[in-house]
Amino acid sequence: MSAGVTLFLRTMMGRAYPRIVGSVRQTSGFFWETVLPILSVTAFVFVYRALNAPEAYIGFVIIGGAMTAFWANMLWSMAAQLYWDKEAGNLALYILAPGPLMAILLGMAVGGMLWTLTRAVVIFIAGVLLFGVQFSSANLGLLALTFLLTMAALYGLGMLFASLFLMFGREAWHLTNLFQEPVYLLSGFYFPVKALGPWLAAAASLIPLTLGLDAMRQLLFPAHPLYGFLSVPVELGVLTLLAAVFILGARLALDRMEMRARQEGRLTESRS
């Protein structure tokens, strides 16, 4: 293994470590990270129950609810974390260290995965046990590929966001806040994105979870193909493209923003 790859992996693990240890240290986080989100998702399930919606919608909500964990992890534990680290004085230390910034960002994401995966899996299991949602297991390979491509594109986007936070102050924090409910709406976390109409759904496809969710729903509920926005192969193609563009873009943007932040003296700036 080359020295560069070793450094990347060690940096990633080094940043992930405190987050994993920190998560395990306070187990009450399990309640906040899993039980409460389940109740929140359950509320949407009961909305559909109250509306006498087809049972497929219950499954759609469960999948969407599980995937909110990844969006939140990317947004708060990776993208916005750089802002928080800047305010706390850690960012300058990251820049001083020999490890690449992308590895540090990936380490944040990996470190946050403990709760993220737990939350997603628990919501998924709760959907099966509490609401009797039945998922098709006919396309597990394709499903795994869809999930991985979605994650690659999603965390690429997260790194791109993080590059902005090298420059911005509190406005970046508020921008992150803004990417919650509007994204849940546009990406169709709780309903098929097709319902938004072709133009809005196409625009929302820039958010990786839009097509990722749509493809996963088509694969897990093949009996309801009419709810899909695009065909699964097309969605996988777009996700691959998004992943490549976001990761490459993040690499360029991080380098560029880091240089600008150095030149303008913003790495240690705290505009509290």
């Binding site: 405190p18 987050r19 240890v21 920190g22 998560s23 240290r25 306070q26 009450s28 986080g29 906040w32 039980v35 409460l36 989100p37 109740l39 929140s40 359950t42 509320a43 949407f44 009961f46 909305v47 559909y48 129950r49 109250a50 509306l51 006498n52 919606a53 919608y57 939140a72 708060w76 928080w84 680290d85 305010e87 706390a88 850690n90 470190g111 709760w115 102050g169 509190r170 406005e171 508020h174 921008l175 806040n177 803004l178 919650q180 409910e181 509007p182 849940y184 709406l185 976390f189 709780y190 309903f191 098929p192 319902a195 938004l196 505009r271 509290s272």
Partner: protein, 285 residues
């Protein structure tokens, strides 16, 4: 008298400080946009869900009832998050919690004051959401059908109850590390299930219904709907048998109960945080 004056001054200054922290990072217009987009989007999620299933006319009386409940639910997230977030923000972000705690001010009044900024932005979001409903969805909300005194009494009681829940969470937050930053929103999201904001409590399994009846928000939302939509409006059957007076009484009683509970819990959490040295805890992971 001096105690009250100090409490009021602490509350007022904390409210001003909270407003500066929330708003002075940008110009007022951008701040306004940022403040209202999130809650409006959350309401629109429900609108789309209802629309794709029922394809119903938005003037459908039951849709109006659901929309109003959902719009006012914005307050739940805003108020309880405002109070609890102040703990994390001051402790981990600005590192000032230890100084404020040591200052000769009632700490509880300070935290409640810090929540006022979110109350203001929440109010803007509720007004915009209702305005959007009237203009874009043509909801039949008319001034002449409203019961303004009932609305004001309900708002005052309901918001007080929410502030107490926020105080309870503020106490809990003092015992938690930073990764519980979203505790207010998580609780608001979870309580959405029990309050009958968007579906009748009768839809819930019988085991879960008592939780809904034990929450002040359940009665508060019903009162708000009655105050805005007038008598005879379509409604969930859950609380149909109660008069306005009975609902106000229940809301007032529960608010008092939650207030006492929140104060006791907060005092306990505060002592525990001091014992464990958590008041100046900073967790950067």
């Amino acid at each position: 008298m001096t105690l009250w004056r100090t409490a009021w001054r602490s509350f007022r200054v904390a409210a001003w400080l909270g407003w500066q922290v929330e708003s002075n990072w940008t110009d007022p217009f951008l701040f306004f946009i940022y403040s209202v987009l999130n809650p409006i989007a959350s309401v629109l999620i429900l609108v789309v869900m209802v629309w794709i299933i029922s394809q119903s006319d938005t003037a459908d009386p039951l849709f109006v009832y659901i929309y109003v409940g959902n719009a006012f639910y914005i307050y739940v997230g805003s108020v309880i998050t405002g109070v609890s977030w102040a703990v994390i923000d001051d402790r981990e972000h600005y590192g000032t919690l230890k100084y404020i705690y040591r200052a000769p001010i009632p700490f509880i009044m300070y935290l409640l004051g810090r929540g006022v900024a979110r109350l203001i932005t929440g109010t803007l979001a509720v007004i915009i959401t209702l305005g959007f409903g009237i203009v874009a969805l043509r909801l039949p909300l008319r001034f002449e059908q409203m019961d303004i005194p009932l609305l004001l009494v309900s708002l005052a009681l309901g918001l007080t109850g929410l502030a107490f829940i926020g105080l309870f969470l503020g106490g809990a937050t003092m015992l938690m590390v930073r990764h519980a930053w979203h505790v207010g929103e998580a609780v608001a999201g979870a309580l959405y299930l029990f309050t009958g904001a968007v579906f009748p409590l009768s839809v819930l399994p019988p085991l879960l219904r008592p939780i809904g009846f034990a929450l002040p928000m359940t009665y508060w939302l019903e009162l708000i709907r009655r105050a805005l939509l007038g008598r005879g409006a379509a409604a969930f059957p859950t609380l149909a048998g109660y008069s306005n007076g009975q609902l106000v009484g229940l809301l007032a009683g529960l608010t008092l109960l939650y207030g006492v509970g929140a104060l006791l819990f907060f005092r306990w959490a505060e002592n525990r945080a001091r014992e464990r040295g958590l008041l100046d805890q900073e967790t950067h992971y």
